[in-house]
Symmetry: C2
Subunit: 250 residues, 2 copies
C-alpha cells in the first residue's frame, strides 16, 4: 500500500558503493538493487511500502557519491531520517540527507543535469583499497595530451557514437557542460557534466580517452568520431567499477 | 622445503586491506592471514615453500599502506616479481615492490622505526566507501585543541599506560618521533612515528585523543596519564579498522 500525503515529498540524497548491487533499479529476478534495499529500509522505519523514484538508473557495479531519489512523506522528522534509515541499510549505502520538497519535485524529471566522474588508476600495481572502485590501466597516460582533447566533447552535439548499441533512444543530442581530465599521483580522473547522458555514454567516453592515450588522438580526431555517428569509431566501454554519479543538479 | 641462497634476500613491500584477514601472522587454527596468503602465492610463483618474515605483526582488521617483509632469494627478476605475485594474491593484498637486499637485512630487526596513521571519520553519517577502513565518530572534534596535546606524546617515555593489559613486554620505554593530528573535511587523521610500539599502543593513543576531545584534556593531562603508568587513565582501545601501518623505516 502506498501512502500519499498531498503537499510534500521527501528528497533523499544517497551515496553507495555499487559493487554489491545489481544497479539502482528494482529487478524482476529479485536481484539485490539499491532501490529494493532502500525500500526495505523505509518499510522497517515507517511500516509502509513507499516506492522510491531515482534520478536515474545506474548499472551494476556503478557507484554514487551523490544519488537523489524521492518518496512520499514519511512520518518522521527529516533531520532524524538519515540515521533512522542508515540503521537498516547495509554499510555499502548511506542516506546522507533528507529534505522536504514541494510535491511537484521529481527526482528524475526535475533534474537539469548530472556530473559523473570516471576514475582510472594508472599503475601496473593494483591498490588494495581501490579494487572494484577504479579502472586499472597499466600503461603510461599522457594526461596533458588528453586535456587538449577534452573540450572537443563539450557543447550541444549528437552523441550517438557514444551510446551502447541496441539502445532504443531516438533523440541522441545532449549538451555536455564541461569535460575535464586531471591527474593526482597515479589517479587519473575524468569529470563530465551534461543535461543528460545516453546509455553507457560516460563509460564509452572514458574508453575513448584510453583509446586517445594509446593512439595519440587530437581534438580534431574526437570531433571526427562525434560527427561520424559510428559507435565503432569510439573507444571500448570502460568497466562499470570506475564510474561514479557525482552530482545531480536541480 | 626452504631454499637459501647465500648473499641476498628479497625485500617485499606490500599494501593490504586488513578487513579480510586475521592479521599478518600465520595462525595455528589455519585462519587466513596475510603471511599465509603471501606464502601460498610465492609457492605458486616459484614452486618452493619460502617462509616470509614480516616487519611486525598486525592485528585482525588493521590495514597497511606499507608493510615490509623479507624472504629468501626467488629465481625471478625483482622487477617481475610484484606482478607475478599479484596474479596469485587476492585483490585485498598487493606487492608494490620487490628489491634485492643484503643477506643481513631483516624485516623486523633491521627496522629502526614505523609510522602509523589512525583515521577517524568525524561524521554522524557513514561513508559507504570507508566502512571497515575508518573509525566513525559522530560528535564534534575540536582538532585545534587536539593539536595542542599531540606534542605531549613525543620523546623517550615509558608508555606502559598505553599498552594492552596482559602484554608481557618488560621494557615499555619507546621514543615517539612525531605525533600530529589534522583534519581534511570530515576526516581526522592521527599520524605517529616511533622507534617501536607497544601492543595496541597506537589504538590506545587514538582512543585517548577521543577521550581528550570529550573531556577537554590539556597537554598537562596527557603528561599526567603517561607518568601515571596506569592503563585505566588512558582512553579506550580504538577499533582496529581505523589503523594503518603507513611507513617502515630502515
Amino acid at each position: 500500500m502506498t501512502e500519499k500525503l498531498d503537499g510534500a515529498k521527501i528528497k533523499l540524497t544517497l551515496a553507495y558503493d555499487g559493487s554489491d548491487f545489481h544497479g539502482w533499479q528494482v529487478q524482476k529476478g529479485g536481484d539485490i538493487t539499491v532501490q529494493s534495499t532502500l525500500q526495505e529500509a523505509i518499510f522497517k522505519v515507517c511500516g509502509k511500502n513507499l516506492p522510491v523514484t531515482g534520478c536515474s538508473r545506474t548499472d551494476a557495479g556503478v557507484h554514487a557519491n551523490e544519488f537523489v531519489c524521492h518518496t512520499d512523506m514519511i512520518n518522521i522528522p527529516c533531520e532524524k531520517l538519515p540515521i533512522a534509515l542508515n540503521t537498516h541499510l547495509p554499510r555499502s549505502v548511506a542516506v546522507k540527507s533528507a529534505q522536504m520538497v514541494p510535491f511537484d519535485f521529481h527526482a528524475r524529471y526535475s533534474c537539469i543535469g548530472k556530473e559523473y566522474i570516471y576514475k582510472i588508476l594508472n599503475s601496473k600495481i593494483r591498490d588494495p583499497f581501490l579494487c572494484g572502485r577504479v579502472m586499472q590501466y597499466p600503461r603510461p597516460i599522457d594526461v596533458d595530451a588528453l586535456c587538449a582533447i577534452a573540450p572537443a566533447f563539450c557543447g550541444k552535439k549528437d552523441f550517438c557514437a557514444f551510446m551502447a548499441q541496441g539502445s532504443k533512444i531516438v533523440d541522441t543530442v545532449r549538451t555536455v557542460k564541461y569535460c575535464e581530465i586531471f591527474r593526482e599521483g597515479d589517479m587519473v580522473t575524468l569529470r563530465i557534466a551534461a543535461d543528460g547522458f545516453l546509455y553507457n555514454m560516460v563509460r564509452i567516453i572514458a574508453g575513448t580517452f584510453i583509446l586517445a592515450a594509446e593512439k595519440g588522438f587530437s581534438a580534431g580526431d574526437i570531433k571526427d568520431i562525434i560527427a561520424s555517428h559510428e559507435r565503432c569509431r569510439a573507444g571500448a566501454t570502460a568497466p562499470a567499477c570506475g564510474l561514479y554519479l557525482n552530482k545531480v543538479f536541480y
